[in-house]
């Protein structure tokens, strides 16, 4: 387990996490770092959960067992909390703070967790929690859909992954639509900066 770094990304269908993993895949290729990833899309287009596992380094497995993620990126706060079973006491966690309550909440089949409690539950059990309002930052950057880029910026800032900003930005240039590259890079930089101020 030592020479590999394991990242879990959890999101709700449509939040752009598949693009985020494809950017990281390209960045790893550019950096010459072996990478394996796997995705379970659980009918993502129908509002289900999408979970991606990315293993950087020489490991051959493309999935990550419970308790073995080094870093977790949650695109939606309650999904971050659900992903906690993948984490251990050393795990670094990055989460978006804008809730997308599942429909079960609207029909009274569940209660959305209190945001302060949610953050406390994560912070008290893991190494570091970087909680950012990715939706607001993405809007400021110029496109509310750039939430994924904001979170990538924050992820790279934590330094857990063996990837540099330069590699990821280069990958953003080739993997995202030309018209959005500038906004995406800005969103990435803003995410990076916010995570840096966040202690």
């Amino acid at each position: 387990m030592s020479d590999s770094t394991r990242l879990i990304m959890v999101a709700v269908g449509g939040q752009g996490n598949l693009l985020a993993s494809s950017v990281l895949g390209e960045a790893a290729l550019l950096a010459g770092i072996p990478l394996r990833m796997s995705e379970i899309h659980g009918m993502a287009q129908r509002g289900g959960v999408v979970e991606s596992a990315l293993v950087f380094g020489n490991a051959r497995s493309s999935i990550i067992s419970d308790g073995e993620a080094d870093v977790l990126v949650g695109f939606e706060p309650s999904e971050t909390l659900r992903g906690l079973n993948k984490c251990n006491a050393q795990t670094v966690i990055i989460t978006n703070l804008s809730p997308l309550p599942p429909f079960t909440v609207a029909i009274g089949k569940g209660v959305y967790p209190d945001m302060a409690e949610l953050q406390q539950a994560i912070r008290s059990r893991t190494a570091r929690l970087v909680a950012v309002n990715a939706v607001e930052i993405a809007k400021t950057a110029g496109n509310v859909l750039a939430v994924n880029m904001v979170l990538l910026g924050a992820l790279i800032q934590t330094g857990v992954l063996p990837l540099t900003s330069a590699h990821v930005k280069q990958a953003i240039q080739t993997k995202t639509k030309a018209a959005f590259v500038d906004i995406n890079i800005r969103a990435f930089d803003m995410g990076y900066e916010v995570a840096g101020q966040h202690r």
Binding site: V12, R36, M37, S61, G67, K109
Partner: protein
Amino acid sequence: MHKLLTDQPGLQMVMLGNEAIARGAIEAGVAVAATYPGTPSSEIANNFFQISRETDLYFEYSTNEKVALEVAAAAANSGVRSMCIMKHVGMNVAADALMTLAYVGVKGGLVIVSADDPSMFSSQNEQDNRYYGKLSGLPVLEPSSVEEAGEMISHAFELSETLQEPVIFRTTTRINHSTAVVTLRTIRKQISRGDFIKDPFNYVTVPAVSRRLHVKLLAHLDQAARCSDESPYNIVSGNGSWGVICSGVSFAYVSDAVQDLGIGDQIRILRIGFSHPMPAGVIKTFLASCQKVLVVEEGEPYMEESVKAFAQEAGLTLPIQGKGEGLFSRLYEFDPRMVREVMASYFGVPCPAKPRLDLSGVPEVPQRPPNLCAGCSHRATYYAVKKAAEGMQTIYPTDIGCYTLGFLPPLGMGDFLICMGSSTGTSCGFSRVTDKKVISFIGDSTFFHSGIPGLINAVFNNHNFTLVILDNGVTAMTGHQPNPGVDMKLLNFQDYGQVSIEAVVRALGVPHVAVIQPYKVKKSIETLKEAFNFKGVSVVISREMCTLYAKGFKKTKTRPYYVSDKCKNHRECISQLACPAFFLDAAGAVKIDPVMCAGCAVCAQICPENAILPVKA
């Protein structure tokens, strides 16, 4: 140009397992490919569909897996390299063709991809299709990684041509839906035209012919066993005396476990990539150099059974274990930690582990099951059926597609499902032995796939039920693939036919047929009531394009709806319709998310206060 056609050997690309398989087939010069879409195999075919528009590859979405295999079988027997792609349960549909195709064999290479789904991420069972190799007498190859999947395809075609038999290429979800860096190899020139040489005494499987063909199949099987023993895909590594025999993705978990446990010096691994027939010689030699052996395989104890039999033949008595208490389960997929822990305990070494978090006291997270899209026509149909059947005792057999999700609350429409097409056949049985009103659901693609024979059966045997055909003009669940009812002109394809479901149903002699537009709620309820009151077989076709698919054709977004201040907050819309565009704001008032709302107007028609109105332009 499609990225999988890139003709630059040596170039590295990040690819999904299914892309690597498609690329491997292109490199092998595949000329004909046929499929019925099914997760986790679908992206292989989706890529072929695009590639077929740029090259001489002939690709088709067939009506079902059996037809797909027959198409490929004929092409391969005309000397053309062919491929047939399906999910594991599709093999059951194709099995009738498969079993005797094995007798007949092939001339050009034929590779059948069976994508198994341990853990059932999107399937109704987790059957282990390696047994189809045993059952049919055909060779089975199993890759352990994305890169290997791509590379092994060429070998599968060669093997098929050497043995003159189809080859089963078995993957699992974690191969199909994993991603890794793949190195491109040269593309073999495709030969897309073939010829069929008549030879009825070897091709027409009457008993006298088949008796001889079975002898031939067994001879091919013997030859396959020799190939397996010499196969570069059955690989031994390490020199230790603790043996591990593994296949598929388990090999990755075993390799990582050996590193993590630091037992490289004690371990000897046999990775089986050619898994039917099992390599008897290789296994016996391997066993002879081990003190004890652990078999690591997801699914059934397929290898374990053979390995134990080989040990017996070789007079070896070493301990060999795989499935069982404290070892591996036949249930669900494996993961690295599980394999590491079982290996550590079996070989008696300490297992370094990161302690799991204590999650007691963590706030509960609400479930997030997939849901029918906002504005999905199925939701509208289900609502109308529920209203029309009010007061009746009902049974709702259902079928496979997005609409299966209708079984969840609050719709609760779906009582019985076993396989593709089962809605029609099971309706016959339920209506015969119960006194309840049987109302069943089937989608357009599933109707063509295997729903029609059950309906014919109902007409002939004079059963009594209503079949609602949810015709949304596309195979939605697997990613909007075409089916025979789809208007291909919408996609700018001119050379396709189109089969009308209504014409089929009428031609079958169904005595009561009606068509509804489910967004017209009141009219739909009336029409459904008439059908439910009809004694005998009745069919109602609910026709409305899948709203997610329709988005691709619309220039402007339909106007969304909003909840006006006439709302009395009894939340009937939420409790009865449960469109995911609804939400409760901080004050508990019902609201509609204008971005999600597809403007279908169904909620506006059911709101007793007429409180839901279109947003003004």
